[in-house]
Amino acid sequence: MTEHPSPVAASPAAVFAHRHLLGIEGLLPEEIVALLDLAEEAVSVSRQVEKKKTVLRGRTQINLFFEASTRTQSSFELAGKRLGADVMNMSVGSSSVKKGETLIDTAMTLNAMNPDLLVVRHHAAGAVHLLAQKVGCAVINAGDGAHEHPTQALLDALTIRRHKGDIYGLRVAICGDILHSRVARSNILLLNALGAEVRCVGPSTLLPRALDRLGVSTFTDMRKGLEGADIVMMLRLQRERMDGSFVPSVREYFHFFGLDAEKLAFAKPDALVMHPGPMNRGVEIDSAIADGPQSLIREQVEMGVAVRMAVLEALARNLPNGGA
């Protein structure tokens, strides 16, 4: 394609030298590319009849979810199993935390079981960092509060790359509840690192302060925000935020910020539509668009498994006795 300073990864293991994946922040562009390249291989593996690899044979992976998430948890579970790991799911949201056990206590208990990989989802920003300081294994952030959700950003990037060939120079509009979105933060960091032009679109009550300092331009008029966009990335709006606290009503939100054919027409004709799921049809996205020809939403789910396989494999190589 055209000449640009897009990074090229040498060998994934050589490039990705981190113990944990806590966020996109702190990753170099070539490290991101290395993970995406590794994920490409995982896509092929996942499409074979024989989907099993053995790189995680003998390894124990614990999925520790303090916040329920069927899709992310099952995606990590499948990824681990395809790589041969023993996977255990723990949903702590309802049990020990309510009994007064602290996050650290839970972590120490799990640590005593000698896991190799710990996948953590928590409702508080920074909780995964805290946990990573206290355990001896590799930790993957599967979403912490409104902070980061790195594997989501990676799977979005992989999906985009497979359709557009490259991320450099693309115009990406991230639309909706930016304020509370970890998906938005991780995507902003990743897309900027790979040279995309990132726009954030939403009502002012859902745009965090000083967002421009993160290297994005902001729009409160969706039509203007979508103008010339290659990618339209929709975010989920939590029901409890539509009751007058952040936006007056579902109806009003959909009117101004719901993605329908009329608004999508402002983007490029070949623009692609994405959503991290689960979708609120009729709130942030019209069903016709979600299921339409420009939608990549189902493919995102497939890429999710591949990206998580790549992340698990990259981190496992850096474990003691990980080999390469």
Binding site: G126, H147, R209
Partner: protein
């Protein structure tokens, strides 16, 4: 106060060979200080010193400075109710080691200090167990609920030096107005923690770029500024004595400055942490840096220092707030506010002096004579007849803060590993040495 603890009277002292600094008078020269019977007999140049009192113990202060003991107007304790965090005894040791000779305790305990009998309890417990002077502030409203005022007159007579709802902001303007109006009849100091609870909402740190990056809900500066504005107007309306416990934003400082220019009985404090640190120090979600008010921007920190230097900010406090593992070892948004600070109050303040950010005398004024004056105490100055609450400090001696070596029962210091210059060699309360540095 301390005399009741030990049967024998304090031996007279002669502190000689040091630099004597009295921020109240501006005296700063080599000199001597004589004490007897818990009071200062003389402080000034050696040449005009009287004959030392009979049987006096001589303290060699060469290479060090003699300053008034610090008066810390904002100290949270765990006693009564949470003694695992801090007691009068442990806080007293921490204070003595930090050169603080008077601590003013907040009423946020279990039970809340909103009753005469409880003020009396503090006075007795502190007298029996604490190494330094302890003066309680009582609750402004019953149960800190922000609705009905406490018995301001009776509480003041029992020894309460001020009235505050501690960590809680009194957000009902009518309640604050009544407290200021009624308190005026007793000369009561009404202290509010200026934070609008609705505007700060679920916020846990300063609103802005750093909070956005960390994905943490922010507290806008306006949550403080609006309340300071409101409170100052109520002070004007009532003529009462108003003190903003802690401010953190440049704009709040402007409001206080205007109020003072208008001649209102308004004063304010700042925590030394807000003078020494800013929001970036939170780094990767370090909960010991979670405070109320939150650490603000570098521009705000600079403004706070300027406020101390020009006297707009009356007092520097530690806002000592012992928190334990059970409240701090949580994700940032779920952890409690607060940091210990008694032992680092002087050293952290001296950092500003050593950095060239503020002169020594304005700093010391805000740590000694100004809080003493607000509280109606004679302490905080080196004058004949004043209580012999003194600190001998080596202003340049370097040391490293290690949490494990703090005397406080709680170790939640934001200064872990910090390099300080300025070490307390000896702390004297009512003429009696209550702390001597091992290295001295």
């Amino acid at each position: 106060m301390i005399a009741g603890k030990l049967s024998e009277p304090a031996r007279p002292l002669v502190l000689e060979g040091g630099r004597v600094i009295d921020p109240a008078s501006g005296f700063d020269a080599p000199g001597v200080v004589h004490t007897a019977e818990g009071r200062i007999l003389y402080a000034g140049p050696a040449s005009s010193a009287p004959t030392p009192p009979l049987g006096a113990e001589t303290v060699d202060c060469r290479g060090a400075a003699v300053i008034p003991g610090l008066v810390d107007m904002r100290v949270f304790l765990g006693e009564p109710g949470a003694e695992h965090r801090e007691t009068f005894a442990s806080a007293g040791l921490a204070a003595a080691a930090g050169g603080v000779t008077t601590i003013v305790t907040m009423p946020d305990t279990e039970p809340v200090i909103d009753d005469v009998a409880l003020v009396d309890f503090i006075a007795r417990r502190a007298r029996d167990t604490a190494a330094v002077n302890v003066l309680p502030m009582a609750a402004m409203t019953k149960g800190l609920a922000g609705r009905e005022m406490t018995e301001l007159g009776l509480l003041k007579a029992a020894g309460a030096v001020g009235f505050t709802d501690g960590r809680h902001s009194v957000d009902n303007a009518l309640v604050l107005r009544r407290a200021l109006t009624y308190g005026r009849d007793f000369g009561a100091l009404i202290v509010n923690h200026p934070v609008d609870p609705h505007l700060s909402g679920s916020g846990v740190m300063n609103e802005g770029e750093t909070a956005t990056r960390l994905g943490l809900p922010g507290i806008p500066k306006e949550a403080e500024i609006i309340v300071v504005e409101r409170d100052v107007r109520l002070a004007a309306l009532t003529g009462g004595r108003y003190h903003a416990a802690q401010i953190s934003c440049a704009e709040s400082l402007d409001v206080i400055r205007r109020a003072k220019r208008a001649g209102l009985a308004v004063s304010c404090g700042v925590s030394v942490t807000h003078l020494a640190l800013n929001e970036l120090d939170i780094g990767p979600y370090r909960t010991f840096f979670r405070l109320s008010p939150p650490l603000r921007s570098e521009a705000d920190r600079q403004a706070m220092i300027e406020g101390v230097a020009d006297g707009t900010i009356d007092v520097i406090v530690s806002s000592h707030d012992p928190q334990d593992v059970d409240t701090k070892r949580h994700p940032f948004a779920e952890a409690a506010d607060g940091a210990v600070g008694l032992e680092t109050l002087l050293a952290a303040a001296l950092r500003l002096y050593h950095n060239g950010e503020c002169d020594l005398v304005p700093l010391l004024k805000a740590l000694t004579v100004r809080p003493a004056a607000l509280l109606g105490m004679e302490a905080g100055r080196l004058a004949a007849g004043a209580p012999a609450d003194l600190v001998v400090v080596d202003l340049v001696r370097p040391w490293i803060c290690e949490a494990d070596r703090l005397h406080s029962r709680s170790k939640n210091t934001p200064f872990e590993g910090a390099r300080f210059q300025g070490a307390v060699l000896r702390t004297i309360v009512a003429g009696r040495s209550v702390y001597e540095s091992a290295a001295a």
